[in-house]
Symmetry: D2
Subunit: 351 residues, 4 copies
């Protein structure tokens, strides 16, 4: 059994990590850390998790290294930066779910995470990326930085165009739509049910740091192929799941058949990315309700002939493939397990 | 009192017309027409309208002309095309809420409404447009074609850029998000509550005919200013209200202050279009929940400096400003009443 | 014009009072009071109310008496108790929407409002009750205490049985279901959208003070007819509107026809209480979605022959007929206006 | 591997059976039957199940017996009655999820299932009941009839009172609240999203056949202990999960502590029934959102001293513990597997 610790156990991502780890055949939850709710059991923090893990939330010290093989940081970025510095080289694997180490370019990091000070030498050691796109870099990685929920969807949607088809993405306009769980559990009036229900809330209309992360990654993966990528983000009236729409303008030649084939080929053997035809089932897909609770990301690329653009849709559960599920997937790869171990649950639908 | 008749009384737009006309001080509902539900009272069709109008749904013949000063067609486009031919020149004013007469360019009409045959001479006589943008053309207009719900929002959002600031809109990417009432009451499995709730359903990802309507209008209003306009539409998890996001790339010089001033100036004196600052209240605006049940359209334009684009957001209640309310507004202007007559209700929020 | 002031302008009931008063032909909003948000305009507090009243929230002193003919208290019960003592006899009419003066029996008041100290002499002067049930007591009343949202529905549902049919209500079991707006805007984790959406939250399973209020009123109105009345309350997954189910066991003779007739007779001439047949329209009624935004209360009584019980359902919009609308209705009656003045808006449905 | 066939594969319960069986370590899905959608794959019927089972929906003949060890009937009651007659004695185990064989008393069956003709000899052979309450009757049972979703919750809630504490239940008033998935996928206007969202729809206010089922079972299990049991059922504004409230009046002596102990003792060793304290976590429990997607039923009993009644709350996922999960649990027990096999997934929350 691989011993896993979760820090930031009170939040939604923390709760989801506990859900997945305690369902995992080869992981054992051996530590829960946090700065609030000290002494509390998971069942007291997460109403859905009435399980007895024998653990309560503890303050984090370097002694945590004695109890875990891998530590998962579901903490705010500034906290992750500190904890990574503390635990790197003490724990065999540190997996960070925050944005602290996602952006490699220093100026861009400062622009989007002005309050997150991190050691440059540490930052450079992190493997960043969606597991499907980083090849075997995760095997034996000591430090792993997981993409944001939106970034995961956008990157999985665009990668076959650049890395697969070799297209230049001249202009990419991303529109992201997310349920309320994407915003966490902070106490804000606008997030109370009476105001959040029925909303289409344009909470980040002129930019989102997940877009910076995607640009950073794509430029690094294949320099020169990305022109401009802009993003707007909206909160819509459900709880779990997000959809990203990328409207792509390229000078390259492309048609619907080429797109469909390229996506199928690109994700062949990657069970968590499901390339779908838009009209496949009785509801249009991708739609996040069709991946709820699961680690799938559904992707579709369509050629909009009239407008001369490619429309790329990607849907995932922001707490699973967009956070805790992807973290477990990375841990699986890090420790040599099949990537789907503990992650084979089907979506719960309708819900 | 102006005598008003509603045809298509069973649908959602028909119900909303009944709601607004029976609340209107100067309109009297004198006819309800339809091809189904003959003999039924409004209360039997619309659970919210338990009112006694003394009317039941009747088949439509040319005799309806004896009973009305204005007829409102809340019928499918093919039916509207037939009824308009029947009633034009018999009824002082015909107001069509369908798409039958929205697109002026014949090829474009055929492309988007292949099954709607209409007489070209009749089509040319229709005044099309959002009341705020057609000046005094509605006064004494015999035939009025109202924009679609999305088209209203998009056009109100873009008009200050072209007609006000004189900008060329090189590329416009529109992302539309609508509640389930936008789809009417057709019996489809995908629209049953278990599948529609929690959905982000990309129902028109590569094009929507409302976009064609907008292009048609903008090109006509100011030839040469529109490059390409593409649209994708999504159904999200609430019932009433829509938001359109227009991502606009232009070569023109622009900044945030210019934008805000131009929008305020453009809509000065037009009470139903409210130019908002994005951060104005405790929830980000425009958000359709803040206009629910009212005839307002909230508009915001932001300059996204980093991406060199303009983000234009517009929110409205698809059944009011996007359909029945706009129809009543047009009727008011047609008959010389103040445009807000019967339309001064505030939004119902939270709801 | 009757000059009206609203205290507690920041809350949901306060916002709804502003909505209704500024739509009212004979009321003028002349004062906004509160202890927080001093200096703010309604538009800054209520995203749906982007109106210019010329008013900002002010601290309350006795000088408010110079500016108003009626003051409406949308304040927590302890605050209402204080403000009523300050303003009684200074302002021609004080209308309290809180629970401070609802319960007449002192022990019962202490049991359910242990922290609300009020002067007994003042309490005795308040007219309590649903306007439909207190006859002409509201004409010229100086002090008015309005029932709670649940209490309004329950009382309107039960009154025809006791006051109309003269039945003894041996055992009444009330089950109340409310949307999230019933809980106001307090910052509680459980009321954040992720946890409140999809919930059936039994927040008051073994008792609710609105039930005490109903018992108090019914016992006073017709002593000896009420055996026991118990209540449980649940928060369900929408925003606005509530339904109360009263399961009534009585020794009296009763049948469906008698019930229906008695209810119709009892509410004859009372336009805001609509007696419905359960199967009347395409959705089962009463259902709060069919009264949203309006001042109606829909009531149905059914005889459940198999179980020997009467099932009484009542639905209303908790912020309108359950709060602000009922307050305006009371003000209308107090000042000799037709009770429906400013309250004739239809429900907004679907929403 | 135990070979399992599902008939009624197109419906919601059928889809959920496919979800659970294909996640089960010891069950193999070997047959999909139905009368519609012949030739279709699960992925075409259930957007959440994009899996390759190698199966398509087939018409049902007695030959199905060659392919399965157990057949699960997720069919309407009249169809189940026919199929059970066809397959009994041909297939080792027939598990019926419909109401065809739930009620033992013939008159009661006719009263609630007037259109379901079934052979009396066959009906008598069915083992009925919630697995937790039927002891070892399921081991080797050839015919199993599973309780309805509401019936499961009500029975699990009341059993500790009668079977555990030996109380007489003089009067039981049940109020059931369910999400829209409880109504299946029939095409009805009232179930379209615009009308079902925001509803509190009293769809069975004076009686529900699940209550008849509960009475039948309780009277049979411990004759003479049940006075009257009445029920009303409501559809509320979410998709998955139900809550039953049983308001119980008894002459017996009882207090809160006794209740809590009795429930804990009664369900000791039954992992799927979780006895909860009402205030246990940050949201009031039981609440169906805290069991979503899982096989748990959360139960709480409270003594309402003021009213002299017991309030019993029970929450479950109507498609899992209320249908497919309970079916798999019964299959596990029938074939000698640990009852939790394949059912250990945690709730997905928030969702």
């Amino acid at each position: 059994m691989i011993r896993a610790g979760v820090i930031g156990a009170s939040g939604l991502a923390g709760g989801e990590l506990i859900r997945l780890i305690t369902q995992h055949p080869d992981l054992e939850l051996t530590f829960l850390g946090g700065s609030s709710n000290i002494g509390r059991r998971p069942a007291q923090l997460h109403p859905g998790l009435r399980i007895d893990t024998g653990l309560t939330v503890q303050p984090v010290t370097e002694d945590v290294a004695d109890h875990v093989d891998v530590i998962l940081l579901a903490t705010p970025a500034p906290v992750s930066a500190e904890l990574a510095a503390l635990l790197a080289d003490r724990v065999p694997a540190v997996v960070d779910l925050s944005g602290a180490f996602r952006i490699r370019t220093p100026e861009r990091h400062r622009r989007w995470y002005p309050k997150v000070e991190r050691r440059a030498d540490l930052a450079d050691r992190f493997v960043y990326g969606v597991p499907e796109l980083v090849g075997d870099q995760l095997a034996d990685a000591a430090l792993i930085s997981l993409p944001g929920c939106y970034a995961t969807a956008i990157t999985l949607g665009l990668a076959p165009l650049t890395l697969g088809l070799g297209l230049d993405l001249k202009t990419v306009v991303v529109d992201g739509k997310s349920g309320s769980s994407g915003g966490g559990l902070q106490l804000r009036t606008a997030d109370l049910h009476p105001f959040r229900n029925g909303a289409i809330a344009p909470y980040a209309p002129t930019g989102h740091r997940h877009a910076a992360e995607v640009s950073d990654f794509l430029e690094r993966s294949k320099p020169g192929t990305l022109g401009s990528l802009s993003m707007s983000a909206y909160g819509v009236s459900h709880v779990r799941g997000l959809l990203t729409s990328a409207y792509v303008f390229t000078d390259g030649e492309v048609d619907q058949r080429t797109l469909q084939r390229a996506y199928l080929r690109f994700y062949k053997g990657h069970r968590f990315v499901r390339v779908r035809r838009h009209t496949e089932t009785l509801i249009p897909v991708p739609d996040p309700q069709a991946v709820l609770g699961s680690n799938y990301c559904d992707v579709t690329a369509m050629y909009d002939e009239e407008a001369g653009r490619i429309v790329v849709l990607a849907a995932l559960d922001n707490l699973v493939k967009g956070a805790a599920g992807q973290a477990v997937q990375a841990v699986n790869l890090r420790f040599g397990l099949p990537e789907e171990t503990g992650l084979t649950m089907h979506p719960v639908m309708p819900a």
